[in-house]
């Protein structure tokens, strides 16, 4: 990189507060939209990271969620539909020093931008992708999305959607993601914690956030957020701990052959019989199994499904550059011009 990009480094970091990350722009999401809560948690988490604000970049595509960069006072690009992971990849290739977030939605990431999502994840570019999943197209006023349930009736599917929905976490795991997590917009402490962990992970972090679109798909996540039911419909994952859930913490997940099953503790079934969570499992099998657990058959897992280490794309790219310089010397254009066969005209 040229001179100047590293100038921002200072030895003592100023203490930042959430307010330091508020931009001067009016937030224009619908009142009551789940996006507000995600923004609030993000602004709380960012000052805790120990990263100077000028080193942070938010990149988005198109959709309600993609307005996000305008509302945080960092560097940012509001890109075009679906392409944020590609923009972020290019930026990280030349500026590995930056801390980059990609903010996207179910349509942006899984429909029009599916290809870029897939490839950013498999390259393990060190970016944090937060997918706001509201199971609907909000900005275009209510068409079904790639995560809308089969049969979903919307303006564009008056007789019900006939597309099989995608499961974002399964997709990410299928792309060999090194960090996969899920949280919920209204579950604010949990959400903050997951965002922080995503930020700290080296490599692509993929976070799905259940987000309520109160205008076009209100209460899509009711089962996961309702105080009455959520203890039974949500499984909070903890590394190294048995998978227990339920209002009375008396239910658990047990493996039966290759299938998970819900069991009630007692009657000879103890915690030791349950599946223990292992975020660090090198094989993605457990994470994938968890990603497949859907309501109402199962409680839906939230938390970190997978958190492993793998070389980071932009570092590998830099290493090749450094290696080439080590073995061949810093490139010299004059030498290159004169290389191979030349002749002289007098």
């Amino acid at each position: 990189m040229s001179e100047g990009t590293g100038k921002a480094m200072s030895t003592t970091l100023p203490v930042l507060t959430p307010n330091d990350f508020a931009s001067d722009q009016d937030v224009r999401w619908c009142p009551g939209c789940g996006d507000y809560s995600i923004l609030a948690q993000m602004k709380k988490v960012l000052p805790q990271l120990g990263i100077p604000r000028e080193k942070m970049v938010f990149i988005s595509g198109i959709g309600c969620s993609s307005r996000f960069p305008y509302y945080v006072n960092t560097y940012g690009i509001h890109g075009i539909h679906g392409r944020a992971p590609a923009i972020a990849t290019g930026l990280k290739c030349v500026r590995p020093d930056l801390h980059v977030w990609v903010i996207t939605g179910d349509g942006d990431a899984l429909s029009i931008g599916g290809n870029h999502l897939l490839h950013a994840i498999r390259r393990n570019v060190d970016i944090n992708i937060v997918l706001f999943n509201n199971r609907i197209y909000g900005l275009t006023k209510g068409q079904y999305s790639p995560t809308s349930e089969f049969g979903k009736i919307t303006k564009s599917t008056p007789m019900g959607a006939i597309d099989n929905p995608l499961n974002p976490l399964s997709v990410a795991i299928g792309c060999e993601a090194t960090f996969v997590a899920r949280s919920i917009d209204v579950h604010i402490k949990h959400l903050g914690e997951i965002l922080r962990r995503a930020a700290e992970h080296k490599g692509t972090s993929f976070v799905e956030v259940y987000q309520n679109c109160n205008v076009f798909n209100d209460r899509a996540w009711d089962y996961a957020t309702d105080r009455q039911t959520k203890a039974d419909t949500i499984l909070e994952l903890e590394h190294g701990k048995p998978m227990i859930f339920g209002k009375n913490r008396d239910k658990g997940i047990r493996l039966n052959g290759t299938q998970p099953e819900v069991v009630t503790l007692g009657n000879g079934i103890t915690e030791d019989d349950l599946l223990f969570h292992d975020e660090k499992a090198p094989e993605p099998t457990l994470a994938y199994l968890l990603s497949r657990m859907r309501y109402p058959e199962f409680p839906e897992p939230i938390g970190v499904l997978r958190d492993i280490e793998r070389p980071v794309y932009e570092e590998l790219m830099d290493e090749q550059v450094e290696q080439a310089i080590r073995t061949r010397g810093r490139g010299d254009l004059d030498k290159l011009f004169m290389s191979g066969d030349t002749w002289t005209v007098k």
Binding site: I77, I87, H119, V345
Partner: protein, 641 residues
């Protein structure tokens, strides 16, 4: 006009000729491109001016022996400045009947037809869809000097000692043909022997066999009485300097690296494989020790989007493709215009529409790169005129991109991308720096306004990592100055005009258009891009014939040079030659109200000089025969002056 001198071999008279045009044609698996490249390189090293035209099928291994599978390589080498690979061919090497029938039309009457007589049996004829053997056809035997050489069997014999299988031995026959041609044109074997050792060093038996075949071809010419004489082309009288033979895509890649060096930035190249642009990616990928970062993206859109991300980060960001890929990049090009970031977008044009003719040349993307986006979306557009010119054009494009904070399109085409010519080797120190400025301080009191413009209307290029200059940019309409999202009608109109004016006024910052030939007269031939060589040569010929013609070759297609409009008015007729249906012509007519005529060709092949000369003659005859046909626009001009 030819002198006879003693050849070193003293066995055959040597004719000194001014130039030679040779075409090598065979099956796509026959290695004709390799032979062509070697002949080109060796001729360049001998000091000749060279120009090439490789022409090969889109399929990697098209059906053997068929007409569709024929791969050709034409090269002209000369003792004078030349700009084209030649119209008609002095010598044609045909490795099989299909190669013969598809290429014979371009062989001069009385020209040399050298065939591999081993591949003219029943089956070969059938594959070429021939009922009879063309070598028995009096049309061929009487009109050309046919030289039958049993290349396959001679090659097998020559490489016998290596113990190679017949299959592998047969693959050496291109080197046999090369040796024969090198003998015929008095070319040194040394560069090719060096090449063989480098390329096949790890397979000594293959290296040896190729070397044996090459020498056997040479000796065949020397010892048999089959050729009455040999030919020699003296070195060309080029400007003094060190020269090197370059291909267009290679020169383009080196130009990018040079531009990055002039700006002291790292080069980021995001690209998706596509013919005929992929060689730029291959070339740049070799040079990581120049801190070049190449990114083979998942698709064309990702390639340009990654480049946009890299530009935001402060790198020299470049993406390249061909027409179909440029179509995919269109939305992101619009984003680049809105973000006002420097970025190069290179379009190595090929025959279209859709997948079209991947390996053939065309100039039909001009309107696409100018207008193929939603909204009022102006971009500067430059076009390279020759392989070596690619080196210069991309640097000029980068200068404009950073000075004006805009994406810039560079047009190349398949013909110049794969063509080769001598290039006078520059020194890096010969070039001025292309300065880049990343601000570090607020520009409006204690605020930073990302869209506050300088006198050229360029906005500041503040990059992440700079404290206090945090800002957000995006594809939504910007408020003037602040860059905030704005839906205000007056602001939108203002911004549309600002972006248009910014690009339009680049005209003040580029050279005036030069004219070759008289500054006024009957006819002005206008061209752009890779047709330069044929057009300038045609105009030279017409001038020699006493016609009143001149030539304007445009490098800048948007904006046009500021004097272009008045230039066009100095001639009774403007003729625009393009490998499309008249795209530049339409632009000139629209912008300058000039009754420009077109000479157009869309065959996937470059212009020949001959057809252009003929077209010029037709127009000039028409003008002089019937004065009433003079352009009405011109008549008006006259009234005014």
């Amino acid at each position: 006009m030819s002198t006879t001198i003693d050849s070193p071999s003293r066995t055959r008279p040597m004719q000194i000729i001014e130039s030679a045009t040779v075409r090598l044609a065979g099956d796509s698996g026959d290695g004709m491109q390799l032979v062509g490249n070697q002949l080109t390189n060796t001729s360049a090293l001998a000091g000749n001016d060279v120009a090439t035209f490789p022409d090969y099928p889109a399929e990697i291994r098209a059906p053997r022996g068929t007409r569709a599978g024929v791969s050709g390589f034409q090269v002209q080498f000369a003792a004078e400045d030349i700009f084209t690979p030649g119209d008609e061919v002095d010598a044609l090497v045909a490795m099989n009947p299909a190669a013969l029938v598809t290429n014979i039309g371009d062989l001069k009457r009385g020209g040399l037809l050298i065939v591999n007589s081993d591949s003219f049996d029943e089956k070969d004829l059938r594959l070429a869809e021939l009922k009879s053997n063309p070598l028995d056809d009096p049309q061929i035997t009487q009109n050309y000097r046919v030289i039958r050489v049993p290349m396959t069997s001679l090659t097998r014999k020559a490489v016998e000692s290596t113990g190679l299988s017949v299959k592998l031995a047969d693959r050496c026959k291109n080197f046999f043909a090369m040796g024969l041609i090198f003998w015929l044109y008095d070319r040194s074997l040394e560069p090719t022997l060096r090449f063989i050792r480098e390329k096949f060093g790890s397979k000594p038996e293959i290296a040896e066999a190729n070397e044996l075949a090459l020498k056997a071809g040479w000796n065949y010419g020397e010892t048999t009485e089959i050729f009455a004489s040999r030919f020699h082309v003296d070195p060309a009288r080029l400007a003094p300097g060190v020269y090197k033979n370059v291909m267009g895509n290679q020169a383009l890649a080196w130009g990018l690296m040079t531009a990055a060096a002039r700006s002291n930035v790292d080069l980021f190249y995001g690209s998706y494989p596509i013919t005929p642009a992929s060689d730029i990616l291959h070339e740049l990928a070799k040079f990581k020790n120049f801190r070049v970062k190449t990114f083979q993206a998942e698709d064309e859109i990702a390639a340009i989007c990654a480049a946009i991300g890299a530009a935001f980060g402060g790198a020299m960001a470049v993406t390249a493709s061909s027409g179909p890929g440029i179509a995919l990049k269109a939305e992101a090009m619009g984003l680049g215009v809105m973000l006002e970031l420097p970025l190069l977008i290179i379009d190595v044009q090929r025959g279209g529409p859709s997948t079209g003719l991947p390996t053939k040349t065309e100039q039909a993307d001009l309107l696409q790169v100018l207008y193929g986006r939603n909204g009022e979306c102006p971009l500067p557009v430059l076009a390279a005129r020759s392989p070596a010119d690619c080196f210069d054009v991309v640097q000029e494009a980068w200068r404009i991109a950073v000075r004006y904070m805009t994406p810039v399109v560079v047009l190349s085409d398949g013909y110049i991308a794969n063509g080769a010519e001598p290039w006078r080797v520059p020194r890096l120190a010969d070039f001025d720096p292309i300065p880049i400025h990343h601000p570090t301080e607020p520009n409006d009191g204690d605020r930073f306004l990302p869209y506050l413009r300088d006198e050229k209307l360029a906005r500041p290029w503040a990059i992440p990592g700079t404290p206090g200059l945090e800002h957000r940019i995006g594809g939504l309409e910007k408020q003037d100055g602040t860059g905030n999202v704005s839906y205000d009608p007056q602001n939108h109109e203002k911004m549309v005009h600002l972006r248009a004016r910014k690009v339009a006024q680049i005209a003040q910052d580029i050279p005036e258009q030069a004219v070759f030939g008289p500054s006024e007269g009957d006819l002005l031939l206008v061209s752009w891009g890779g047709t330069y060589g044929a057009c300038i040569t045609a105009v030279q010929e017409c001038l020699q014939q006493g016609l009143s013609v001149a030539h304007v070759h445009l490098r800048y297609l948007n904006p046009f040079p500021r004097n272009l409009g008045s230039l066009l008015g100095n001639y009774r007729r403007v003729l625009v030659a393009e490998l499309n249906l008249g795209q530049l012509r339409m632009l000139l007519r629209a912008q300058f109200l000039v009754d420009a005529r077109g000479y157009n060709k869309v065959q996937g092949r470059p212009f020949t000089v001959g057809e252009l000369v003929e077209a010029i003659h037709q127009h000039v005859d028409e003008l002089n025969g019937q004065g009433a046909f003079a352009s009405p626009a011109k008549e008006k001009e006259k009234v005014r002056t």
